[in-house]
């Protein structure tokens, strides 16, 4: 684990293909930071991450609240079990299903046509249009990973002592006040943990983008993970790709540091 990291750091200071290496110092980093595409990719990664995490939280919290609200316990565990399935799928498989659904003649456009939102002659190539590609990948990722939030938040909700709500009701607290002053504070630590984790996971995610768009069209959905892959394994610019990887690692490191600190506190 440590050796590969040192190896990447070393490579990032070289210009390298498979056979030879030339020392270039911080040349790779200079090229990288001056590259418009790199910054566009970085921004895409941030958008993809923030979009996914926020929607995961909203949908996950909504469903967890519904599941926790007085439904029959058998129905609750049935619904939880059924809703968890997207999370079990490989990102590759989930991506494939969405590629199929979002194709120009796919079922999603079919649905929109039936509903009269678009006409049958103006099918949208969701993944082939640079305006919608990144959004489509984000939508798939939201669908695949919301169950994780749902399950974690439901577990958190069930740990909130019932008496707190009863006391609040006696004092005449409204539903919103109960949510704001009892539910949210009790979930704070769970939310912080899963938001951090999900940010890290999404920021480094490779499969969804690679499978669905390959970063295209014209890099409009490129994220750091796929950019590193293409620069390294297709253009064989291992030095440059390593420099990109180091920048990615540094950005993730900041988020991870919070997470590691939190975990270390709970571990001790």
């Amino acid at each position: 684990m440590l050796y590969p990291l040192i190896e990447v750091a070393r490579l990032s200071l070289h210009e390298s293909n498979l056979t030879r290496e030339t020392w270039v110092g911080f040349g790779n980093y200079a090229t990288l930071l001056a590259d418009r595409f790199f910054w566009a990719t970085f921004l895409n990664t941030v958008l993809f991450t923030v979009g996914s995490v926020v929607l995961h939280l909203v949908i996950g919290l909504g469903l967890a609240l519904l599941l926790n609200a007085g439904v029959n316990p058998y129905f609750r565990s049935f619904a939880r079990g059924v809703l968890i399935v997207p999370w079990l799928l490989a990102p590759t498989v989930a991506g494939m299903i969405w590629v199929l659904m979002l194709a120009p003649f796919g079922v999603f456009n079919g649905m929109l046509t039936t509903l009269g939102v678009i006409s049958s002659t103006s099918n949208i190539a969701w993944l082939g249009d640079s305006a919608t590609a990144l959004g489509s990948v984000t939508a798939m990722n939201v669908w695949r990973a919301f169950p994780f939030f749902m399950v974690m938040l439901l577990a958190g909700l069930q740990a909130v002592p019932q008496q707190q709500y009863e006391a609040a009701q006696l004092d005449g607290a409204t539903l919103w006040q109960q949510f704001r002053f009892i539910t949210l504070p009790s979930l704070r630590s769970v939310i912080a943990t899963i938001v951090l984790l999900d940010s890290i996971w999404t920021f480094r995610a490779f499969d969804p983008v690679f499978v669905m768009t390959g970063g295209g069209p014209s890099h409009s959905s490129e994220v750091l993970a796929t950019a590193i892959y293409f620069d390294g394994f297709q253009k064989l610019k291992f030095g440059y790709a390593s420099a990109e990887a180091m920048v990615m690692f540094a950005s993730l490191f900041i988020v991870s540091a919070f997470y590691v600190r939190r975990s270390m506190r709970s571990v001790n």
Binding site: E7, L66, A90, T92, G232
Partner: protein, 292 residues
């Protein structure tokens, strides 16, 4: 719970019982709606897998296949090349799970019971491994395995998967072990068990829910992994499911029913395992996120 609270404030014209029923009904309605929406992609995957390819890209779409056929499944199950992919995936995932649990249990025991020098460092290191951007490791691993002559071998995949599943198993089992009183193994040791014997006769049997949870999660990770399967494997004979499904997209762009049948077959084992072991899986997820 929060919804029930509404019944305490009968502010509208409805009586308490009627309001309660309304709230309850809308909760169920929303949940059923969520299930329908979230299952649509899964239903579509299955529906495409059992229809001929000409029916896939029709406008407007047929919701129910007009011609029902298992031909895509037959094609996969009769092809030695595709069956090989299943065998590869099962062997890699099982081997990774078994090794992670076995080695993980040992390390977790040491971390839970002994306070040695660098104890904190080890824990911190394990947590950090879970945060690593894996794509960062692609380039060095690729070069290392080429120089070791392990490029394009399943061994390489097993080794790489272990580097991230093992720390997870260690952390999860450790947190479970911490909650088990030391006295239990000590009693076994007083009765003449060696320490290793005591671990396997007392601690492991007590902790089986943690083993199932960690094992399932590890299996899921190994089964679904894609990045390293792309980077480290080249030949068809060594491919795993995720990679094979992706190759279908690249090689035969329009063979949708085979691709979806493949996806169904690749997901089914996980879903079935989950149905039976839901409780442990949820525990594993919860514990995993809170410890790893």
């Amino acid at each position: 719970m929060t919804m029930n609270a509404m019944t305490q404030h009968p502010s509208g014209g409805l009586g308490i019982a009627a309001r309660r029923r309304l709230v309850n009904l809308s909760t169920y309605a929303l949940l059923v709606l969520a299930i329908v929406v979230m299952w649509f992609p899964l239903a579509w995957m299955f529906s495409v897998s059992v229809r001929p390819n000409v029916e896939v890209m029709k406008m407007p779409p047929d919701w129910i296949p007009q011609v029902f056929t298992w031909e895509a499944y037959a094609k996969i199950l009769s092809s030695p090349r595709y069956l090989r992919v299943f065998i590869n995936t099962v062997s890699v995932a099982l081997l990774v799970t078994a090794l992670s649990l076995f080695l993980g249990a040992m390390a977790a025991y040491a971390l839970a019971r002994f306070n040695f020098l660098g104890h904190r460092m080890v824990l911190m290191f394990l947590i950090t491994t879970q945060m690593f951007p894996l794509v960062l490791l692609c380039i060095p691993y690729f070069r290392i395995f080429i120089s070791l002559g392990l490029y394009d071998s399943l061994t390489a995949l097993v080794i790489v998967y272990l580097t991230f599943t093992l720390p997870f198993c260690i952390l999860m089992l450790r947190s479970y072990f911490l909650n088990i009183p030391k006295d239990i193994e000590e009693a076994a040791m007083v009765d003449g068990c060696s320490r290793v014997g005591a671990i396997f006769r007392t601690l492991v049997p007590i902790s089986w829910p943690a083993f199932i949870g960690a094992g399932l999660y590890t299996f899921l990770l190994a089964w679904n992994e894609f990045l390293f399967a792309v980077v480290l494997i080249e030949s068809w004979g060594k491919r795993v499911l995720t990679m094979a499904i992706y190759s279908l997209l690249a090689e035969f762009v329009t063979d949708w029913n085979t691709m979806m049948a493949f996806s169904v077959l690749a997901s089914a084992p996980l879903v079935v395992a989950f149905v039976f072991l839901q409780k442990y899986m949820v525990q594993g997820m919860t514990a995993g996120a809170l410890t790893s």
